[in-house]
């Protein structure tokens, strides 16, 4: 016989349990009974089915991570490990995760809340407010340590770094989360009311299981959003996740990054727009200058037309023209005169008495020079002058 201590025995059993793969990591299905939350925050209850039961404990940390916790009599799926509690010599289930069986109850709760809020008009399209196109201050309600915040800040940096971000830290999962989220929404509104500017709120959380997102299916959060004076964009979970806050928000974005993108314009677009504005301005300026240059050119032409110097030139030229005309006219007239002269000379020549004399005629003149054309003009013995072609001689009338 080689007895060992109880402690050693229980420690041995504990070691056996710890070596067992199934006991280390197990899902069990059962009904919740004797649900008790200790002042320490740890939860003790019993899981049972028709023929058996097992003591179950869930530590405070795990309990806080659950937004949904079962009530007495609920069928649950519990995950954890089976260990030994040496002091009492009992084994029990150390649960770290509780889910309603088939999640049917969660969905039922979700649908019931959704229907209730819809009936209260909280989802009405008329409630949705327009979002500022280019907000200067954005409040982000999320976990300060989460990937969601990093995603949001990264997107804002890329798209619209002109904005100023104020983070309103809150838990985003666990039983405390709904109250904290609602408080953060109220705080953001009070902050804005105190004189600080907040143009848009983003309520966000990264992806997770339906239980992880459960805080966003809370009535308190829904009403805090409804009461918010600042328009809200939600970005909770993934594309396919819909939570109550998505229906209440002014805009639902599928993810935190998408919420950030929806909150601000894209500076790439704006930079392009600015470049085109600058081109437009340059073209306009060129057009204006062009137009003025053309007007100026026209004026210059008109000015030249009325230039006194040009007038003088014009007159001078017309004077020249006239002078030239006069000269040619004069020449023409002289020519004509000359021609008439020559003709006259020819006629004169024909009439020249000398030519008659040369044909044998003579001219008889009295002493006083009178041309004698009749005997009656002279008396006997009158001395007469006879002029012939060859010269002049004197004769006496004898009869």
């Amino acid at each position: 016989m080689n007895p060992i201590t109880i402690s050693a025995l229980n420690t041995h059993i504990l070691a056996l349990f710890e070596r067992d793969d199934l006991l280390r990591d197990v899902w069990v299905i059962g009904e919740v009974s004797n649900w008790k939350r200790a002042t320490s925050g740890h939860i003790y209850f019993t899981l049972k089915d028709d023929g058996a039961n097992i003591s179950t404990v869930m530590w405070k940390g795990n309990a806080l991570a659950h937004t949904w916790l079962p009530r007495e009599g609920d069928q649950v799926l519990a995950h954890g490990y089976v260990g030994v509690y040496p002091e009492r010599g009992v084994y029990q289930l150390y649960a770290n995760r509780l889910q309603p069986v088939g999640r049917g109850q969660l969905y039922a709760e979700f649908e019931a809340l959704k229907a209730r809020l819809a009936a209260a008009g909280l989802f009405d399209a008329a409630r949705k407010r327009p979002l500022p196109v280019a907000p200067r201050f954005i409040g982000v309600i999320t976990s300060p340590d989460g990937a969601a915040l990093r995603d949001i800040l990264r997107v804002l940096t890329l798209r619209w770094p002109l904005v100023e971000v104020i983070v309103f830290p809150t838990l985003v999962q666990g039983s405390e989360a709904p109250a904290q989220i609602a408080n953060a929404i109220v705080a953001a509104n009070q902050y804005a009311a105190s004189g600080a500017a907040l143009d848009t709120l983003i309520l966000a959380r990264g992806g997770g299981s339906i239980e992880d997102l459960w805080a966003f299916n809370d009535e308190r959060v829904a009403y805090a959003l409804i009461d918010s004076q600042i328009p809200v964009i939600t970005g909770v979970g993934h594309e396919t996740d819909f939570t109550i806050v998505d229906f209440v928000a002014d805009l639902r974005a599928p993810t935190p990054s998408a919420a950030a993108a929806a909150a601000v314009p894209d500076r790439t677009d704006l930079l392009e727009q600015l470049a085109s504005v600058q081109r437009q301005l340059s073209e306009q300026a060129l057009t204006v200058v062009d137009l003025e240059a053309r007007r100026l050119h026209e004026l210059r032409l008109r000015l030249r037309r009325v230039d006194p110097k040009r007038q003088l030139d014009l007159r001078r030229q017309s004077l020249d023209d006239r002078e030239r005309y006069l000269r040619s006219e004069l020449r023409r007239r002289l020519e004509r005169l000359r021609e008439r002269n020559a003709a006259a000379r020819l006629r004169l020549d024909a009439l020249n008495p000398a030519n008659v004399l040369r044909r044998g005629y003579s001219i008889v003149q009295a002493a006083d020079g009178t041309i004698v054309t009749s005997p009656a003009m002279t008396a006997i013995d009158d001395e007469l002058r006879v002029r012939g072609a060859g010269g002049e001689y004197r004769v006496k009338r004898i009869k």
């Binding site: 200067r136 915040l149 104020i166 983070v167 600058q278 306009q284 300026a285 204006v288």
Partner: protein, 85 residues
């Protein structure tokens, strides 16, 4: 249309927000589009428009996201270190 003196982009008061600058720019564009201004005035406006556009571009290019963290009592403290994550 108020007559604003034309200033180079780097002399435009840095308090002028991007939005305010862009709004001024739009007014200038509209005024120039109507095209009833005397030459000198439209050239001044044009220059002013270009300066505002440059200013806006600078603002967009140089802006750095400012992040702070809300504290109870509506105090805010700079929120840093998120870039490393």
């Amino acid at each position: 249309m108020s007559k604003v003196k034309s200033k180079p982009a780097d002399e435009i008061a840095s308090e002028l927000s991007y939005e305010a600058a862009f709004a001024q720019l739009e007014i200038i564009l509209q005024t120039l589009e109507i095209g009833e201004l005397p030459l000198e005035e439209s050239l001044t406006l044009y220059e002013q428009g270009i300066n505002l556009a440059t200013y806006c571009t600078q603002k967009l290019d140089e802006a750095e996201l400012r992040v702070s963290r809300w504290q109870p009592g509506h105090q805010t403290t700079p929120f840093v270190g998120w870039q490393e994550g």
